[in-house]
């Protein structure tokens, strides 16, 4: 900046500038403060449980508040399995949709479809959960699950009694929740593939699909992987809809038809009723575990997306 030569405004604007700069800087830095605050509060809250159980907390499989025995393994298991199911369902569908939207769909159809997908992303979790309890779960119990059992019943995954509420139902509802985010981030990734890539492939006489496969998908591999990992991060922390359909029973079993429990659901269900000192502390520690996992997954996803194509690709919410 040049020094301000006008005597009448000398000092005035410079002070204003400096103050405004500082003000905005402080607001921007609040994001670091918030991350620190979240980590600090969770660590503080879980101190008792950390002291009592140490690392054993992560591998213990008893969750018995009456006898003050707390092990996180069934919840970690439930969170991982439901997220994995969600990814298996959502990844192929949403990447194919993103491909359709950027490469194959007729132009007039693209904008309306994009809008629909963004609206799906806006549906609150609790509403999807409500629909899950009263529409999806009964349908799964009567139609899909018996069919799966008849067709793939030789696999241990699809054996055992069918209740409806189950790990698989939880996985499906999480899949619905992460479809829009994986789709829209993948779409941004595909859109950032340079047009020259496509033109080169067309010039060789490739069909539309061949252009997509050779020039676009292989170029965008890293970014698409980032989109998937970002979806994983959302799946791990998903709370309300899962809580309403997963059955909330802390057990580790092979069958996907059996009820499960996730880290987020157990906090949602038990936190307000947790009495004593150790019980709430154990729930705080579950929160700490959940935070740790999601933050690591998210950092990984952000790095993939940011190194893929620079600042043009940004995660949607």
């Amino acid at each position: 900046m040049q020094p301000n030569m006008n005597p009448r405004t000398h000092g005035g604007p410079r002070f204003g500038d400096r103050a405004f700069n500082w003000l905005t800087l402080c607001m921007a830095l609040s994001v670091f403060a918030l991350i620190g605050l979240i980590g600090h509060e969770l660590a503080q809250g879980s101190r008792l449980a950390l002291q009592k159980f140490g690392w054993h907390f992560l591998v213990g499989s008893d969750w018995d508040p009456v006898n003050e025995q707390f092990g996180a393994l069934p919840f970690i298991f439930g969170t991982l399995v439901s997220s994995l199911i969600a990814l298996v369902i959502a990844v192929p569908i949403s990447i194919a949709t993103a491909v359709y939207l950027t490469e194959l769909a007729p132009l007039w159809l693209r904008q309306p479809l994009v809008m629909f997908i963004e609206l799906l992303a806006a549906v609150p979790s609790v509403i999807l959960g409500l629909w899950g309890i009263f529409v999806m779960v009964p349908w799964l119990r009567v139609y899909l699950f018996p069919w799966l059992q008849k067709t793939f019943g030789f696999l241990p995954l699809f054996q055992g009694p069918i209740y409806g509420v189950s790990m698989l139902a939880g996985g499906i509802i999480v899949a619905i929740m992460i479809l829009p985010i994986i789709t829209s981030v993948s779409r941004e990734v595909l859109r950032s593939v340079p047009g020259l890539q496509r033109e080169a492939a067309y010039a060789l006489g490739a069909t539309r699909w061949e252009v997509t496969r050779i020039a676009v998908l292989s170029y965008a591999k890293k970014g698409l992987f980032g989109a998937v990992i970002l979806g994983l991060g959302r799946a791990l922390g998903e709370t309300m809809a899962v809580t309403m359909v997963i059955g909330n029973s802390p057990q580790i079993v092979k069958s996907l038809f059996a009820p499960g429990y996730t880290l987020a659901s157990v906090i949602a269900n038990e936190f307000n009723e947790a009495t004593g000192d150790l019980y709430p502390s154990a729930l705080f520690e579950l929160g700490l575990v959940l935070l740790g996992v999601t933050v690591i997954v998210n950092i990984f996803a952000q790095l993939l997306l940011k190194t893929f194509a620079g600042p043009s690709v940004k995660p949607q919410n």
Binding site: T9, P13, G16, D17, F20, N21, T24, L25, M27, A28, S30, V31, I35, L37, I38, E41, L42, P92, I93, S94, A96, T97, Y100, L104, A105, L113, M115, I117, A122, V123, P124, S125, I127, L130, I133, F134, V135, R208, E210, L236, G237, T239, M240, M244, A264, I267, F271, N272, L283, G287, L291, T294, V295, N298, I299, A301, Q302, K306, K314, P315
Partner: protein, 283 residues
């Protein structure tokens, strides 16, 4: 290249078009189904009482969700008071000030913050506010939603400010206008629609949040009186009714969900019209 090969390639092209089209339909299906069932189950329970009366005691039929509707708007108001200034000014810093390295880190932190599970926010604000105040409160509920808005608003504000052509800034600075008033009067005013859009979308997003309110706002069967008391909110009420045992509660849950979804979707669709021309790239 031989003819059969050519046919095979064309066939594969058509096949993949069809497969990816079906996937796109599959993504849209849940939205259509949810909306269909909400209207089918919820529409008949929406009446005057729903918007004007308190919930009846468990098991009794009738009553409404008026307190939860008011509660949701009170919570959103508080959230906006906390989240909007911090988010918008932070976004101004990212767009107008700062070195590229510092800004990379701030953006990175904001994106990580966006990925923090909402239930985690809930227990953090419980420890920060509910424990010291010895009570669940509307203040805690509004704060948790406000904190969640910060990274959302910051990122969208930054984005729309960067769409303002640099010529505007240069012209204003060349006239001798101070940088901060250039930003406030020229840059932010030009991007006002976009900033408002970002704020509305963030509000729509947190309006449906349930998990963080469970341990902060808690819910309440009465009208809101004070900010230091537990307060009812639509998502909380929907959740409580959905897992409740009575048919009448389920009906109310459907009706509440329909109203909440209409609120959220109308904001989402509304801002699309608001920003159609100038900031289309962003929509």
């Amino acid at each position: 290249m031989t003819a059969p090969n050519h046919h095979w390639r064309k066939f594969k092209n058509g096949l993949m078009q069809a497969v990816t089209f079906l996937c796109a339909i599959l993504v849209v299906t849940p939205l259509v189904l949810v909306f269909y069932h909400l209207i089918k189950e919820g529409f008949s329970s929406i009446n005057l009482a729903f918007f004007t009366q308190l919930p009846k005691p468990e098991g009794e039929s009738g009553g409404g969700m008026a307190n939860a509707i008011v509660g949701t708007f009170i919570l959103l108001g508080q959230a906006a008071l906390l989240g909007v200034p911090i988010g918008v000014l932070g976004g101004v810093f990212l767009s107008e000030y700062g070195s590229s390295r510092l800004n990379w880190w701030i953006r990175f932190a904001a994106d990580i913050l966006n990925g923090v599970p909402s239930i985690t926010w809930g227990i953090v604000v419980y420890a920060l506010m509910v424990v010291p105040m010895h009570t669940y409160s509307a203040l805690a509920g509004g704060s948790v939603l406000g904190l969640m808005m910060i990274p959302l608003v910051m990122r969208t504000t930054e984005e729309v400010l960067q769409l303002v052509p640099n010529g505007y800034r240069e012209a204003a600075l060349a006239l001798g206008i101070a940088k901060w008033s250039t930003i406030v009067q020229i840059v932010m005013r030009t991007a006002l629609k976009g900033i408002v859009t970002g704020i509305l979308l963030a509000l729509a997003r947190v309006a449906g949040e349930t998990a963080p309110l469970l341990f902060t706002a808690l819910g309440n069967g009465n009208w809101p009186h004070k900010l230091t008391e537990p307060i009812a909110a639509m998502p909380l009420q929907i959740f409580a009714y959905a897992i409740g045992p009575y048919n009448d509660q389920h009906r109310q849950a459907w009706a509440g969900a329909l109203v909440l979804l209409l609120l959220v979707l109308s904001i989402n669709i509304g801002v699309r019209f608001l920003t159609r021309d100038r900031f289309q790239r962003n929509v």
